[in-house]
Symmetry: C2
Subunit: 697 residues, 2 copies
């Protein structure tokens, strides 16, 4: 349990300082200024007191029990101090000091050293090279942190790998007037990890939603497990930086832990139902809506506006976010006719016009509440100086208090004017999320609706197919490993595919032209002949593939030619396979992902993969719903449907194929890379017609 | 000239009111509160004074000269009052009242009526159904507007069709502490148009950049001309709402002037070098950077940060915006080694670390100033409480004052604390654009760089091709018009193409099978035969196209079959054309755009257009540079290059073809729609192999 860290009854500051502008002073100042309810014990080698508090020379001298120690001393002394913490019975330490794993081998050794002591004495470590934690609980008020934003109590908890981004997020919440529950920024994360913190907050009833900033995870599997657990309990809003090549490079130099663009984290977000963002400001603004509003039951928005243009902008945002601004029913329109000003526009958006007061706004909101085609309400409210803006605000709050449908308000005003400050206060105290421009407000409502879709989505469990022969597949891999090969032969690849019921075009592996002709006859013409040698990787480019061979003569010629050109005196093997023309070329690929099992890729073959990079990824195991999502999510998905009246491909066969691949990968972790390229998909089936498997050395 | 509107020496308020919450009172209050330097004359039927000012019963009674009248009276009385304005010698009127063209036929008639009087007496009209103008010039201080934001003087002027969006923009500028020069929101725009205002501001030396919000233009050609003129003088930052189907519908119900998604406005932005935005907040934030910073010479950013994560986020934004965060030179790195703290990361981003003070920041900025591979400087500055934040701010300001490279600052702080307010004041007074989070700041710098690209781009002049026969093309159109046809026959289409030197596959139009065989022989086999009848529009679906005919027998059979099936007793014509297999299928289309001439479309044919909607548009006339941009801008552009070592298509031939189409459309405004579909492109040429032209009735 992380109680000693997040709910410390007493805190010792090892490295307390009498100098105003030093971290060892600022932390004590912050605890005092925030109103910490526990005891603060400065540890200082000589000063009798620090910031008015009695100081102690060592931890051992501290008279009372201590839950948490802040450690702000040179890194070399840290292992020793951790031992002292243990001896004092301290259960958690925030190591603010830098100079550990982020600084090369010597620092990494120091980190190892203090961890040994920490395990020995059961001291949990937060950091090192970190900011700290905050707990705004009015009964505790723990500001164990050297940053500067003093949050109000609230229901949103924030965890950020980077202290800088954590500070930005906390400040943005404060600027919006949104309270915060707990905060954590754990730097090098040598012991207490973000997943562990998430799990702790999952059980915290005071936490209604979580904001997460990360640049990747050292143990993605752990994060996947925790995310699955926590995302089912409460909304998690997350941002993963380093999503571009350049950004990944910057992140890598920052954390030292990653290389290349990491797509796995985003895939974990998607799989587990974490709401992902690309813009930290969008994320924080969305969190404000999550803090008070219910989740909309669907994507349909009713817009009420007292000025035209901002409603157009909001409608654009909704249009681009897959949301609807539906027509209102006749019943609604006739109610509006009775209640609105003559200049009002009685459509969706309802333009109540600038002169509308409380009654007109209320009547329009009542219509939206009762309108069956509307799931959420978006309000554009410009504080026209000639209207009773307080009355309008009170009506919005009254409707919000009903909790029937989520409300988000684009509140356009000048907050330097006292009158409008009061209008704003009415809205804020009433829990109405307010934003200063239409795009920001509409994006926040769109995020609520997007979360609603995630919440309603059930990806189900991975299917287990009957009649599969994992033993056969495993023994093929063993054989290859025993022979020291990492690339499997065509025969081995097809053998593994068949063991998992992956439909392949009928095939034989043969050693010469005579046997190739026999095999072709058994399979039936036309056939393809491919050279089958693990060391000839790009068979097609080398002229090692001959397609659409229609008779014995053609087969003999193809085999003879390949043997001469590619084999020379070395005897080659050949794969003879049924030629299947006319289908849609697909590609299914897989690769092992560091610490996470495998990722599966789906796309259309040929130029669509090569030029358009139009592919979808999922983490193994892939469920039926996820396989369907993969197929639907590529930009060229419409090509799988019939074009110009033709029939489409057998999508269920492709879904089945993706799931069998998923099961195969789950069973065979030795596989590093696998391609089914191409898969040929027809009206009534889909077949792997070429494959490649690379296994671990 | 719009001086009487924007620089009024005296203002009369027709419809002045003694009621606090009425527009006729608020406007006077605003003029007073803003410190208007001219005379204010309330016009009121009975009150002796309004807001402490002597009131007059009629305009005629006003003792002094009046430049501008605010009109806030029922719409029916407006035509009469405009006449009174004219008689009084008033040169401009802001009609705030609603109840005109936005309210149906009766209102439209009233609008016509007051315009007749306005023209008669030479009174320029602003509005009706509008907010008004603001001029912050300290010598004038004209707040002729009923909204509520009181801007500081500055260098940015704002024009917005929608008063609501105008208010949002003005407020956002004020919230950012950015001054404003002039403001205009002209509602129904019955007389003074946004283009006219832009032209006026183009000549205003006090205006450094313009913000424009629009939902489309009633006269796009006028806007195109003015935009060309103004965008060459100063940055114009613009947003066009109604960009989605739903948004366009909302805009249409709001302005009554548009239907469907209008792409022409965006194309005008692009053609003329106006910087386009989709988010009003991004636009205003970018304007803050334009207000003080020079335009970067290129896309390469040097990042200086005192906290890691925000630099990663910024780098992601730069990566996604086509900007570079280049490696620093050895020289730069060795300078950094001498000047930075031991924990600093001496790369790009330079992480000076949280404990860095003024000297470290200054040294890092000096390196970026001298680094040849860097065009602009991005600073992440979190106000660590243990550093001298004022000193850091002063160094940033000092470097900014050099004006050598643009600087944008992500300034992460808590502005409720006095100490940080002062740091912020130093930055703001020093003209450093500051933003509260990394994405916002990086987007603003990216907008500066995007504008730099626009500024450096020269689209050149449209080419005029020699040997063109416009007379022949015109006479073909005349013939069709005379015959009452709007769809041209294949022969006519190819005739027009040939008149403009558009390469077409060799062709003949014939009346029967015998002549078809003769034609095929002359052209050379293989050929295509198509039925040529304007009323059979979807020839291909009807079986009216036979391709790859290799001999006389095949031609005879095809013609006979089509005559029987599609003609019956009616004699059909047939187009015999050279069959050109193996090229890349392209499509070039054109359509007349309301009030703007033609738009040209380019894309890859077949599924790429049908499924991927992967097309590019430009406004005619299209220059060589624009034609090259069209080809490069489609997502599937790589398909035009050689794949897997093959040769690509002859892009210069396609560029030439697009320009010839452009010249054709410039000369023949009668054309409503034209398709060259497909164009077959080869290594050494491109040919229109089917075409369609529809002309105006």
């Amino acid at each position: 349990m992380l109680d000693p860290l997040f709910k410390p009854r007493a805190v010792a500051i090892v490295g307390a300082s009498t100098k105003e502008l030093s971290i060892g002073n600022v932390i004590i100042k912050n605890l005092q200024a925030f109103g910490y309810q526990g005891n603060i014990y400065p540890i200082h080698p000589s000063a009798p007191e620090v910031r008015g508090l009695k100081a102690y020379k060592t931890l051992a001298e501290v008279p009372g029990d201590v839950d948490l120690a802040h450690i702000i001393i040179p890194s070399k002394q840290v292992p020793q101090v951790i031992e002292e913490c243990g001896l004092k019975g301290i259960r958690a330490a925030i190591i603010n000091s830098a100079g550990f794993s982020e600084m090369g081998a010597e620092g990494a050794q120091l980190q190892e050293d203090f961890l040994i002591n920490a395990r020995k004495y059961d001291v949990r470590i937060f950091g090192p090279n970190c900011q700290g934690i905050i707990n705004t609980d009015p009964a505790l008020k723990a500001y164990c942190n050297f940053t500067f934003t003093f949050p109000e109590p609230g229901a949103i908890s924030v965890v950020a790998l980077s202290g800088g981004v954590g500070a930005v997020i906390m400040q943005a919440l404060a600027d919006l007037g949104v309270g915060m529950r707990m905060y954590a920024s754990n730097g090098n994360a040598s012991d207490i990890s973000i997943p562990e913190i998430l799990r702790y907050w999952g059980k915290d009833d005071g936490c209604r939603a979580i904001i997460l900033y990360t640049e990747g995870f050292s143990d993605p599997k752990e994060f996947l497990e925790v995310a699955t657990e926590i995302a089912a309990l409460k909304p998690v809003l997350a941002m993963k930086a380093g999503r571009t090549e350049q950004g990944a490079k910057a992140a890598s130099s920052h954390t030292g832990s990653l290389a290349g663009v990491d797509i796995a984290t985003e895939l974990i977000f998607e799989k587990t139902g974490i709401l992902s963002f690309e813009d930290e400001e969008d994320m924080v603004r969305a969190a404000m809506a999550f803090a008070t509003q219910p989740i909309p039951a669907g994507n349909r928005v009713g817009i009420i506006t007292n000025t035209g243009g901002p409603a157009v902008i909001a409608t654009d945002v909704f249009g681009a976010s897959g949301m609807d601004v539906p027509k209102l029913s006749e019943k609604s329109i006739s109610k509006l006719k009775e209640t609105q000003l003559p200049e009002a526009a009685l459509e969706n958006p309802i333009d109540v016009v600038a002169t509308a007061g409380g009654p007109q706004f209320r009547a329009a909101m009542d219509v939206m509440l009762d309108e069956e085609s509307v799931d959420s309400i978006f309000i554009n409210f410009v504080t026209a100086p000639f209207t009773d803006t307080h009355a309008v605000a009170r009506e919005i709050v009254a409707v919000g208090a009903l909790g029937r449908k989520p409300i988000v308000c684009n509140f356009m005003t000048d907050l330097t004017q006292e009158r409008f400050q009061e209008t704003r206060r009415i809205l804020k105290d009433g829990g109405i999320p307010c934003y200063a421009n239409p795009t920001a407000a509409a994006k926040a409502l769109a995020a609520l609706a997007r979360y609603g879709r995630l919440e309603r989505r059930d990806i189900g469990q991975p299917e287990t197919f009957p009649g599969i022969d994992p033993g056969k597949a495993a023994s093929i891999l063993e054989q290859a490993t025993a022979a020291g090969r990492t690339i499997l032969s065509a025969g081995e690849v097809y053998g593994i595919f068949e063991a998992y019921g992956i439909p392949v075009a009928p095939w034989r592996v043969v050693a010469d032209a005579d046997r190739a002709m026999v095999a072709a006859k058994e399979i039936g013409y036309p056939v393809v002949v491919k050279v089958d040698a693990a060391d000839l990787d790009h068979k097609s480019d080398l002229g090692g593939v001959a397609i659409n061979l229609r008779d014995e003569e053609a087969v003999r010629a193809a085999v003879g030619d390949m043997q001469t050109r590619l084999g020379g005196s070395r005897k080659l093997n050949f794969l003879v396979q049924k030629f299947l023309p006319g289908g849609r070329e697909l590609i299914i690929g897989a690769s092992a992902s560091r610490g996470l099992g495998h990722l599966v890729m789906f796309g259309l073959g040929g130029i669509y993969v090569e030029v358009l990079k139009d592919v979808a990824f999922k983490i193994v195991p892939v469920t039926r719903v996820e396989a369907e999502e993969m197929i639907a999510s590529i930009k060229t998905a419409a090509l799988l449907d019939g074009l110009r009246g033709g029939k489409g491909v057998d999508k269920q066969a492709v879904v089945d194929l993706i799931q069998r691949v998923s099961q195969l990968l789950t069973d065979l972790p030795l596989i590093q890379e696998m391609d089914l390229n191409p898969v040929m998909a027809f009206e009534d089936g889909a077949f792997a017609v070429d494959g490649r498997i690379r296994i671990k050395k």
